[in-house]
């Protein structure tokens, strides 16, 4: 599984990254987690508001901070 965190480095993006790591830890699943910070790559997903969470190439949520529980449900 590949998880991408899209965002230009604002506070919310960092929190989303932390939440994702926590969700992985609590669910015992493993995944490759990458931070995507450059604009062209973010735009490729058509995301217009950051932070966004992408799992295996699919945008799961954008423009808001997903909670640990919500991310666990998406994994």
């Amino acid at each position: 599984m590949k998880i991408e965190i899209l965002g230009t480095g604002c506070a919310n993006c960092k929190t989303l990254y932390a939440n994702t790591m926590k969700a992985l830890e609590e669910s015992g699943k493993s995944a490759e987690v990458v931070k995507v910070e450059d604009i062209p790559s973010i735009m490729k997903y058509g995301v217009m508001s950051t932070p966004a969470l992408v799992i295996d190439g699919q945008v799961k949520c954008s423009g808001r901070l997903a909670s640990v529980v919500e991310i666990m449900g998406l994994l």
């Binding site: 230009t8 604009i39 997903y45 058509g46 217009m48 508001s49 945008v59 423009g63 901070l65």
Partner: protein, 315 residues
């Protein structure tokens, strides 16, 4: 009811004398803080629920290939309900222009969205009353519409950074949230925002209370009153560096108005605080070349100054 609670706390429990400077300042501080936090919690929550139905992807689709005038008006109105954070300004801008939203229409959105924001409106409503809040919304929309039309007329497309036009923008389906998810989102959003702005509110109301209690009345009337023609531009210039602190600035301005600052000057100052900021300029320089960035700031600042003079003259 809140007022009698604050009075009881300050004059009965703490035992300060009504009418004394310290008593009045503390009374003012407690009353305003409670009122503003109540308003903030309830209204930010409601606004967040409404906003979750207007993701920027949907707004973009509605504005795509819209003509000027109608497009500018729609963009300014959608700016109120579409969630916006200056950290997303770049992907938002690229998404808009790539999908065929005209440049001037994009600017109407970019101006209205931060300016007509819920925190500023709640603070204005709570401290100045609903009339001033409505005047702020109306003139904010007008500034956004007019400035967007002017930027559109200037045909400045070549001053958008070249890479923007070459960008490949993917198409993501709009993720629809269930009502339960919307409520959860609104709760998170409200808590997150309150956590971020509460120190500014407390410090702002505190300073406002101090001014209310200790600064003599009509202290400012001479140099920030309606007769000083320089007051409006100076207020706009001072507002630019105070970005993102609308929550802290409004209570201070409210107290300054009591001491003689004219209403048009107050409105112009507020608009400069919310609409123009150095950090946002730096973020936008990723997509705008200098002439367009300078034009954008110049036109918005001019429009705000005109609004200031107008309300100083008629109110």
């Amino acid at each position: 009811m809140l007022k009698s609670f604050a009075d009881y706390l300050v004059f009965t429990l703490i035992g300060l004398v009504p009418g004394s400077r310290s008593g009045e300042a503390l009374d003012f501080f407690i009353y305003d803080t409670i009122k503003i936090f109540l308003l903030l919690s309830v209204i930010i929550f409601i606004v967040a629920v409404i906003r979750s139905s207007f993701p920027p992807e949907k707004t973009k689709r509605m504005l795509s290939h819209k003509r000027e005038y109608l497009g500018n008006i729609m963009a300014a109105l959608l700016g109120i309900v579409t969630p916006f954070c200056s950290c997303s300004a770049v992907p938002l801008f690229i998404g808009f222009v790539e999908s065929g939203v005209p440049l001037g229409v994009t600017f109407s959105f970019l101006i209205s969205s931060p300016m007509v924001n819920e925190v500023a409106l709640i603070m204005l409503w709570g401290l100045f009353g609903w009339k001033i809040a409505l005047i702020y919304i109306g003139s904010g929309l007008l500034v956004a519409i007019v400035a967007g039309i002017v930027i559109g007329k200037l045909r400045m497309e070549r001053y958008v950074q070249d890479y923007v036009w070459k960008m490949q923008v993917g198409n993501t389906g709009i993720t629809v949230m269930t009502f339960r998810k919307k409520l959860a989102y609104a709760r998170e959003y409200t808590l997150g925002l309150l956590k971020k702005i509460w120190p500014y509110v407390v410090v702002g109301v505190g300073l406002g209370a101090f001014i209310h209690g200790y600064v003599p009345a009509d202290f400012l009337a001479r140099w920030a009153g309606p007769d000083n023609i320089f007051a409006v531009p100076v207020a706009v210039a001072l507002g630019v560096p105070l970005y993102s602190n609308a929550a802290g600035v409004i209570p201070i301005v409210h107290a300054l108005m009591e001491k003689g600052m004219a209403i048009g000057t107050v409105l112009a100052f507020m608009m400069a605080v919310t609409a123009l900021s150095v950090p946002e300029a730096i973020i936008l320089s990723n997509v705008l070349k200098k002439p367009l960035l300078a034009t954008f700031f110049g036109i918005v600042a001019t429009a705000i100054v005109i609004v200031g003079y107008l309300f100083n003259a008629i109110l």
